[in-house]
């Protein structure tokens, strides 16, 4: 067991504002490679635990899209010492809450519980990391639940297919090109062998981070983590996925018809650099200026003045690898997508050349400070951030530097990234237009 670092307390200053408290944590690696981050906070008699695995839909192969997420469902179906669905049942029946979530880059499991149930959480998480029960019955059953999840979130929703189309158009690399939920055909094809192989390769202690935040004693908590997880064998490191994207040379466009939609919708995605790039901070400030709240440029110009849309959103995604800066909005009745797109382009052009007001930069800075403070009020929020920053960037202390990083972004930085990334040859555009239902499908 090797102590990597212990972060000290109190510093960090915003511009002319009260100092922000720094989040203190310990960062330890067990012999089997499991990284353990513990942050003590006795504000309330609860704690949160996150077990974050370094595997997501980016790791799926062709023909098995949706597998990482399907696997996430299997993690609740029992292990050597835990019965089928016993894990969630024990959590909720003891005053806790829990869930799992899968993204392109990671699969995360989390619980928040009263402080006296630390052993329970660690036992359940360790038992499934060590000895997941994999059966065909479980797989078939959760395949049904996931296919229903897809129907609910994608196939039965207006614009559901738009979300998939935009990634398919923007990305060339299969890793990020396909959706997390996957295709119905691929979900149907997943086998028990796939589940077993995936478990062995990715659900190993050396491919995971455990973060515990809240009403715990760090030394005791670490000893308990060692007790429950220490005996789980490390596995060979999984293959590293190449996420690189070829440079985009020209604008890509697609028009979709949607039988469930009633208003037309515009989606635009601009390619941006990987998550570790400092340009992401400038793009985040840019997103705030364009679409953060009702003082934003998109709202004032396109929603309030020109009345082309009820709301236009813009911002960076949270991807580790090459990302997208997404812009989207629906056109109000009687307005066209062409008008909406031109109005958005005008605002983006204005951002590139005309001055940015001081208050617009100040707004982004204060926003980062307030979201840091609000995050301190939630143990689960901190556990998620600490674990993701450790997993993605090998730097859990990023949680303490974000407000400062945003505070360093200048108006010149914002204009530079606007000119560099928000250009037509670097974007993919999807128009979704309502399709009237076919005659005779209406009812009786």
């Amino acid at each position: 067991m090797k102590r990597l670092c212990a972060v000290g307390l109190v510093v960090a200053l915003g511009v002319g504002a009260a100092p922000l408290r720094k989040i203190q944590f310990t960062d330890t690696k067990l012999k089997n490679g499991l990284r353990v981050i513990i942050s003590e906070d006795h504000a309330a008699p609860v704690f949160s635990i996150v077990v974050n695995y370094n595997v997501g839909s980016r790791d799926e192969r062709k023909g098995r899209t949706g597998f990482a997420h399907l696997f996430e469902h299997m993690m609740f179906k029992g292990s050597e010492n835990v019965g089928q669905n016993e894990h969630p049942y024990l959590m909720f029946m003891n005053g806790g809450t829990m869930n799992g979530t899968t993204s392109k880059d990671r699969t995360m499991y989390y619980e928040t519980l009263p402080a006296n149930q630390l052993d329970l959480a660690l036992f359940l998480e360790a038992d499934r990391m060590r000895s997941l029960t994999i059966t065909k019955d479980n797989l078939d059953n959760q395949r049904n639940a996931v296919q229903e999840e897809r129907r609910l979130a994608v196939d039965n929703q207006p614009y559901g297919k738009t979300f998939e189309a935009i990634d398919e158009l923007a990305y060339e690399n299969f890793a990020y090109e396909h959706s997390v939920i996957g295709s119905m055909a691929d979900l149907s094809a997943a086998s028990v062998d796939d589940v077993a192989g995936f478990f062995k390769m990715y659900y190993a202690p050396n491919n995971a981070v455990v973060a515990i935040v809240g009403d715990v004693d760090p030394k005791t908590a670490l000893a308990k983590v060692e007790k429950y997880f220490g005996g789980i064998a490390a596995q060979p490191a999984p293959p590293k996925i190449d996420l690189t994207e070829p440079a985009q040379k020209e604008e890509r466009r697609l028009t979709l018809e949607d039988g469930l939609a009633r208003l037309s919708r515009l989606d635009m995605a601009y390619k941006i650099p990987p998550g570790v790039s400092s340009d992401r901070d400038s793009l985040s400030v840019l997103g705030t200026i364009l679409s953060g709240g009702r003082s934003s440029r998109f709202y004032e110009s396109i929603v309030r003045q020109k009345q082309l849309s009820a709301g236009v959103g813009a911002g960076t995604d949270g991807s580790v690898g090459p990302g997208l800066f997404n812009v989207s909005g629906t056109a109000l009745p009687g307005k066209t997508l062409k008008e909406l797109e031109e109005a958005i382009d005008q605002e983006i052009d204005r951002l590139k050349t005309a001055p940015i007001a001081d208050w617009e930069i100040e707004k982004a800075r204060t926003g980062a400070r307030r979201s840091f403070v609000a995050g301190l009020g939630s143990s689960i929020n901190r556990a998620v951030q600490l674990s993701e920053d450790a997993l993605f960037y090998n730097d859990p202390d990023r949680i303490n530097t974000r407000a400062d990083r945003i505070a360093k972004v200048t108006a010149a930085d914002v204009q530079r990234v606007a000119n560099q990334y928000l250009v037509k040859t670097n974007r993919s555009v999807v128009w979704t237009v309502p399709k009237p239902p076919a005659a005779g499908r209406g009812g009786q």
């Binding site: 029946m93 196939d155 009702r294 003082s295 208050w359 939630s378 499908r441």
Partner: protein
């Protein structure tokens, strides 16, 4: 800090009732195996739920403060009875809601964009809202401590001198009408619209959305008039949580809202919705739908009803997280991604609803199983272990609320709103714990009687009409609410 506290015994239920033994009786549905090997703590965890300090101010305003200096931020909620949608005239549904929305769209001294800029530059929030059914309008917001004084300046402006600018009203109407179109694509909206109409009839509780005609009938003058006559402090309350003391909160309220004078208005009174008609099945045709969205439900009771604890417990068994509906219809049968049940209870009778979305071809077995799970709770007492688990789940979740002072304050706002006794939350765990299997069953029999259960479905009418007809008298509507056939 002179805050009174009480002790909540988390785990008390666990120690007082049999804990899951090594070979526990299984809950009534499959797809769950309790091996009983995981180390569950039965220690009594003492939780101190702090109480707010409260005082009445001369203009009628009731002040509540939950002082908590853990974080440098303050939030507030101002509740104004008499300014809610319950008071809407029948031809101007939405009047209260739109009055609230427009208050934020400009004052005597600031335009809408100036308000947005001032708020967002200091990362503060300020929302004015009113539903279509309740008696109360709410103004709420929050900011870092260093900006809170300025936030209260803006709040006072929005509350006391909104301008109801005709240009802003026109813009608001245009945006809102797009939303009225958009919401009809959402199966959940279509289901609740019909469900509320069926359960509440013409009572304000039945309103889900205004119509475009309602919007056109409302003028800026009507908004200003509603504001002038309904926003009175006489029966209002303002509640603060976070980095602020009672003394500072009082000074702030006196300084910023000193101009808000008592109006001598009566406290709004309410009546219960009429009893429902006979149980029927309603289908809203949604062409192209690949799922059927199902609501099964009925009227519930007032917030102060003595059955509150019993229905809370039996509902937790049925439709709480990892409850019977989830274990049976999702985990065992794989019909759905999500299913659950819940109820509302306010100054007048609310509703109880169970709901889910299932793929079209399992509509019949899913609805049959949903009704069977409800029937099971009417017909048989809940086994003791399952009952104890449900009760522990309810009481145990209190500890998590302590992370958020706003959440704790919310409980005491309920006390004020519904006139609950001062020690209501002190004794709540004991009341939940005391619910017996017979009382839970009695609540199921009383509220979930077959003669009371209304069924609403949204889906592909070409595929599910005949199935639904088997479940009762069927009425079919299109997605715009027009009767079909």
């Amino acid at each position: 800090m002179p805050v009174r506290i009480f002790v909540l015994m988390i785990g008390l239920i666990a120690s007082a009732l049999p804990q899951a033994p090594a070979a526990p009786p299984q809950p009534s549905t499959t797809q769950m195996v309790l091996k009983g090997k995981a180390p569950v703590s039965n220690d009594i965890l003492k939780v101190k739920l702090p109480r707010p300090q409260e005082v009445d101010l001369p203009n009628g305003l009731h002040l509540m403060v939950l002082e908590d200096h853990r974080l440098p931020q303050v939030t507030f909620t101002l509740m104004i009875p008499g300014a809610g949608g319950y008071l809407d005239p029948p031809d101007k549904i939405g009047l209260a809601s739109y009055t609230a929305s427009l208050m934020r769209e400009g004052t005597k001294t600031r335009t809408s964009p100036q308000i947005s800029e001032a708020l967002e530059t200091m990362a503060a929030t300020l929302n004015v809202g009113s539903g279509l059914s309740g008696t109360t309008a709410t103004i709420s917001g929050g900011s870092l401590s260093e900006n809170f004084d300025k936030l209260m300046d803006l709040t006072a402006e929005v509350l006391l001198s909104p301008s109801f600018d005709p240009g802003e009203w026109d813009r608001f109407k245009t945006r809102t009408k797009a939303g009225l179109i958009q919401q009809r694509t959402n199966p959940g909206f279509l289901a609740s619209e019909t469900f509320n109409r069926v359960v509440f009839g013409s009572h304000p509780a039945g309103r889900i959305s205004p119509t475009a005609a309602n919007l056109d009938a409302i003028t800026p003058e009507a908004l200003a008039e509603f504001h002038r006559t309904h926003y009175a402090p006489d029966h209002a309350a303002i509640a603060f949580a976070g980095d602020i003391s009672l003394a500072d909160a009082r000074k702030l309220v006196e300084a910023k809202l000193g101009g808000w004078k008592k109006a001598g208005v009566a406290k709004p009174s309410v009546t219960d919705p009429d009893l429902m008609g006979p149980p029927k099945v309603y289908l809203i045709a949604r062409p192209g739908s690949v799922q059927t969205t199902l609501y099964v439900g009925t009227q519930s009771f007032r917030r102060t009803d003595p059955d509150y604890a019993a229905l809370t417990v039996v509902n937790r068994v049925l439709g709480g997280t990892m409850g019977r509906l989830f274990r049976h219809l999702r985990e065992e049968k794989g019909y759905t991604y999500g299913i659950g049940s819940g109820f509302s209870a306010t100054l007048y009778r609310g509703s109880w609803t169970s709901s889910t979305s299932v793929r079209t071809d399992v509509t019949e077995p899913a609805l049959t199983d949903l009704l069977a799970e409800i029937a099971e709770l009417r017909d048989k007492p809940v086994p003791e272990n399952e009952l104890a688990d449900a009760k522990r789940a309810i009481v145990g979740s209190f500890a998590r609320d302590l992370e958020s002072p706003q959440q704790v304050l919310g409980y005491y706002i309920d006390n004020w709103t519904y006139g609950l006794p001062a020690d209501y939350w002190d004794t709540y765990p004991a009341r939940i714990t005391a619910v017996s299997a017979a009382q839970a069953q009695a609540a199921a029999q009383k509220y979930w009687a077959p003669s009371r259960l209304q069924i609403v479905a949204v889906g592909d009418a070409t595929k599910v009409t005949d199935i639904l007809r088997k479940k009762g008298t069927l009425e079919v509507f299109d997605a715009d609410g027009n009767p079909m056939k």
